[in-house]
Symmetry: C2
Subunit: 217 residues, 2 copies
DNA sequence: GGTTGGTTGGGAAATTTTCCCGAATTAGAA
DNA sequence: TTCTAATTCGGGAAAATTTCCCAACCAACC
């Protein structure tokens, strides 16, 4: 299953921005032993390309339309445990990074880091090591020191769901209707979420939800 | 002031992601008559590099830390009216696009569009034309059909400032204190903003503010 | 069988929202 | 100039929500 028919390291690129993709394709192929064998711009195509080419390494941006990046990682890992997945993302929130590793990624490099960091990380993965850029290491380290891994860890499932809908712009009535709850219960959750997270304003709540990857934009 | 000492078209690249920058530097330099004369990863450096090299075209991502991209455009335009600025961004909200053009950009291409679109746009700019990618054209066209140019047009200066602080997470008391207003007045503005914009929730207000470029994250 | 913890909602006081209003200021048109 | 229109500022009062406390249910777990 391991694709070593090519001389060096075979790579599948997944990113929804063509220019960016083409850009770092060139960066990677500048390395003599790297070969980009396929590209994809969405999770479904990524999985198809993975099955077709069985690359050594998948370099993927997980913030793609449909937000199914994590799902794609799980799918690929479920099928082949020796394909190494490197997440290459703009975001560096601890929650997102941990989610990626939990899904089965072996590396995480931010787009803000030096190109050489990406190349180094790929080589580490091929040698069976985990790898991440310095900024990610720092974020994870700090996260590890904080009492709660994430603010969201203190929240129950219901609370998280309500926070999500709140941040999405739903009214109290809509949430109650969506979840078949009384308005009173939603109000109580709303209050509870604020006190638990220490946020004083609904706007702060929205920002928190976005930071934690619960909501977008 | 026009820098034609180089044979072809001199370009300044501004983007806060080194890999992305290096990536499309290669894409651009694949064109024989293009020459990337400098790079920058923030607004201040961009302005310095612009003064030092007086490039024909500045290709810049405006969603940089500090969100000072628009300011950078204004600064550059204020100094040289024949430098063409092309915004190269992930975002394609009408408000942001219009803000960029109003600030003095001559082109707007999304990162999601084909690499050739970027190259074509640069050539258009050099010929004195405006240019934008297809998706941007579509967004602006739709926006033009909608009755109000921007939702923010219906808001007064005070209202916008209060919306900004609201979206930033400030409490009513904090806003009142910041602007030397009574709490009552801030409450009244808060209500007025909601009715004017048709938003029913503070969370919706935050999203609106972000969409209009009033707030970030 | 008791304890813990997530879930669901009632109650009641405190606070905010909602909508009304008028006054002061400014900008612009007549 | 004078009048109108728009913006800014805030009071008042009813309606609604927030805030905090509490109780009940259910499931998991020792």
């Amino acid at each position: 299953m391991n694709a070593s028919q090519t001389k060096g390291i075979s790579i599948l690129l997944v990113d929804d921005h063509p220019v960016v993709r083409q850009g770092y394709r060139r960066v990677l192929e500048h390395q003599d032993d790297f070969q980009v064998v396929a590209e994809a711009d969405n999770a479904a195509d990524a999985y198809r390309a993975f099955k077709a080419h069985a690359p050594d390494v998948v370099v993927m941006d997980i913030s793609m339309p449909g937000a199914s990046g994590l799902e794609a990682i799980r799918n690929i890992r479920a099928r082949s445990s020796d394909t190494r997945i490197l997440v290459f993302s703009m975001h560096c929130e601890a929650a997102q990074v941990k989610a990626a590793f939990n899904a089965g990624a072996k590396g995480y490099v931010t787009k803000g880091s030096d190109p050489s960091a990406l190349i180094r990380a790929i080589r580490s993965l091929v040698h069976g090591e985990q790898a991440m850029s310095d900024d990610i290491a720092r974020v994870l380290a700090l996260d590890n020191l904080s009492p709660s891994g994430s603010v969201l860890d203190q929240l129950g499932e219901r609370e998280i769901e309500i926070l999500r809908q709140l941040a999405a712009g739903a009214t109290t009535e809509q949430i109650a209707s969506n979840l078949n709850l009384s308005i009173k219960t939603v109000q109580n959750y709303h209050y509870l979420i604020k006190t638990k997270t220490g946020m004083r304003t609904d706007a702060q709540l929205v920002r928190l939800a976005v930071e934690c990857g619960l909501a977008s934009l």
